[in-house]
Assembly symmetry: C2
Homo-oligomer: 391 residues x 2
């Protein structure tokens, strides 16, 4: 109905920030001439032109040659500058560490991933390893003439707004860890601010928003690795909840008499539909084998996937009844299992979502590969360049 | 991390609307002098003073006499005007219709409620009855010199953003009904715009935000009447979900082997913790008796309340794991049962909410009586006067 009272006074600087973000927002979609920008944004041509000039001077935009000659005023399209400031993304996960460079246009310019069993590495050493990989990738970027604006870090656990890693269920040693401060110090040695430290499922959801197919603005992205992670995007923003702990889909109750969960309770989704549950039910040891067996039509594998899909469907019906989000995106292992997982999920959604008869729902597989989280971490830096806080 | 691109250009008018909302927002808290307003808002004294003068001319503010003499410039506090535009709230529920008048200060100036069994009344006749009651209350308000700015309507069902009542589980005849258009036409006959048509649980949650104790900005309000309704407020805004169907807590799965629900499924919260479930489990016929028996320590009643509390706790743990909201407010019958209901809810929350060890949660009873929804409907009108959209 109405929002909270605004916090501070507005003035000319607010207007300029707003209009600058407006121009950059349109250029994320496609290159445009100054005249087109004025028309689309509703700004005067003089204002649009002067903001564009400032953004070119700041290396955020680049001017292209006009595709056909025009008379009078030059009408060269301007576009986001692929050689402007870039974002560094870093991910520490249970069994690998990765880093990548994403430019203003969203392109991945460099990417590296190394297998590391983080369960056997002390947090301090793990952070140092990640920083080392980041420095390698930064050096490669420098070789391309790219300078990073900042870094983002993805972690497989619950991170608060201050960059404190509260708990990483699958990395028992990684808890109550001031990752923001510690990794921030390692990045500061290289002159880079740490823009975000965030749960990997949340950053994967943001990567879906920024780089995924279909220009989705409202969805829940659910993925299975060792645990079950979810990120919710509403109105093109990550839904973090009041204290940043939203989206813990893995621990929503599906069956109070179900198996015991790593969190200490019974009935959570995770032990019913996580990777370990699928492997245990099929007697397999890795997810590649799981996908291969499903593709070969193995009955036991298909039954296990169907049971997981049913549990996922019950949990997702709860999400949709509570949050009313029109799209479910399956990521990670779930994306690979989508051909068999989608039907049982859709059966539960059709039966259990109250608004289902009149509010369409789609379930689809993410087109992003397994690097969604680290791309999201780099993307958060790029977004900070393109969309500094409007208020 | 960052928001969506702004939609239109900003200019001087944006600034003025923003600053006007800023001033009114502070005056909702307490009367202030022009100088205090300038200081708190960061506006110049001249700007603050001129905006205040405009708001006084528009009857939104009223100037009080200074409490003590001051030298130099007058320093009279200004306050929201209780005789300025008021909001009309109307509620159609399963067994009553009510209407009320709320002024800019949030005070209920008139309130009427009449018992009507809406299950036996055709929707068209029900809307006409409600409009008749509204007209009576408007006439009483006119007698006090109060003029309504608009009307808000609360309904016991799922309402979309366009004012279409999709379904009211306990009023089978009330479905696919263009209530916004039809009730809007009835109000237009009296010159009143219909500002909002909204689910009663959502409006009750907004009433909690605007008029409840404790200045809560982030909470889920859950109440039991015949069904179980919930409204979620985040950042002082109603959380409606993408299409307005959020908050359907009553149909979140608590136990897949549980009793059948009115929605057609098994395992929903509603048949485990709604008023009918409590009455059936205790053999009682009304909620007053239920409260009296509980207060008298009747074992069967206490056991039924504990079972309902446990189911509620499982469902609320899911809400908090997904949405991360720090406060649960019990309304309606649940507020009256709070002395017995709170403990079993808290046991489930402590066990099942992943962030529980570091993110405090409180469960409390609403201080608003049964008229929360109709006050919320009137409050939505008042908010439209005080806080017209800032963007």
């Amino acid at each position: 109905v109405s929002g909270p009272a605004p916090r501070g006074p507005a003035g000319p600087r607010t207007v300029k920030r707003h209009n600058r973000a407006l121009i950059l927002g349109h250029l994320i979609e496609a290159p445009l001439t100054r005249a087109q920008l004025a028309q689309i944004t509703g700004l005067t041509r003089a204002t649009a032109s002067s903001l564009v000039d400032e953004l070119i001077a700041g290396a955020l935009l680049v001017e292209h040659a006009a595709t056909r000659g025009e008379r009078g005023r030059p009408a060269n399209p301007v576009a986001l500058n692929p050689d402007g400031p870039v974002g560094l993304g870093v991910e520490i996960n249970v069994d690998y560490i990765s880093a990548c460079i994403v430019d203003l246009t969203g392109a991945v310019r460099r990417h590296r991933s190394v297998p590391v069993d983080a369960r056997t590495v002390a947090p301090e050493a793990g952070l140092a390893l990640a920083a080392g990989l980041a420095v390698d990738v930064l050096a490669e970027a420098a070789g391309l003439g790219l300078r990073a604006h900042g870094a983002g870090l993805a972690l497989p656990g619950i991170v608060d707004a201050g960059g404190l890693l509260r708990r990483a269920p699958n990395l028992p040693e990684w808890h109550d860890l001031a990752v923001g401060t510690r990794f921030g110090a390692l990045m500061a040695e290289h002159g880079l601010p740490l823009v975000t430290v965030e749960n990997e499922a949340n950053l994967a959801a943001l990567a879906e928003l920024w780089f995924g197919a279909g220009r989705r603005h409202d969805f829940v992205r659910v993925s299975a690795e060792i645990g079950v992670g979810a990120g919710v995007v509403l109105g093109a923003e990550l839904f973090r909840g009041v204290r940043g702990y939203a989206g813990e889909l893995g621990h929503v109750v599906v069956d109070p008499d179900g198996p015991r969960c790593a969190c200490g309770n019974r009935g959570c989704l995770e032990p019913l539909a996580g990777q370990d549950a699928l492997l245990a039910a099929t007697g397999l040891t890795d997810s590649d084998a799981l996908v291969a067996r499903a593709a070969a039509g193995d009955r036991r594998t298909l039954a296990a996937i169907e049971a997981a899909g049913q549990a996922l469907g019950v949990a997702l019906a709860g999400v949709i009844n509570l949050i009313d989000v029109p799209e479910v995106v399956l990521g990670g292992l779930y994306a690979r299992l989508e051909p068999w997982l989608r039907a049982p999920i859709e059966v539960e959604l059709a039966a259990r979502v109250l608004s289902r008869p009149w509010a369409p729902l789609t379930v689809s597989a993410s087109a992003l590969s397994a690097d969604a989280a680290v791309r999201g971490a780099a993307g958060a830096v790029v977004q900070q360049v393109l969309r500094p806080t409007v208020h």
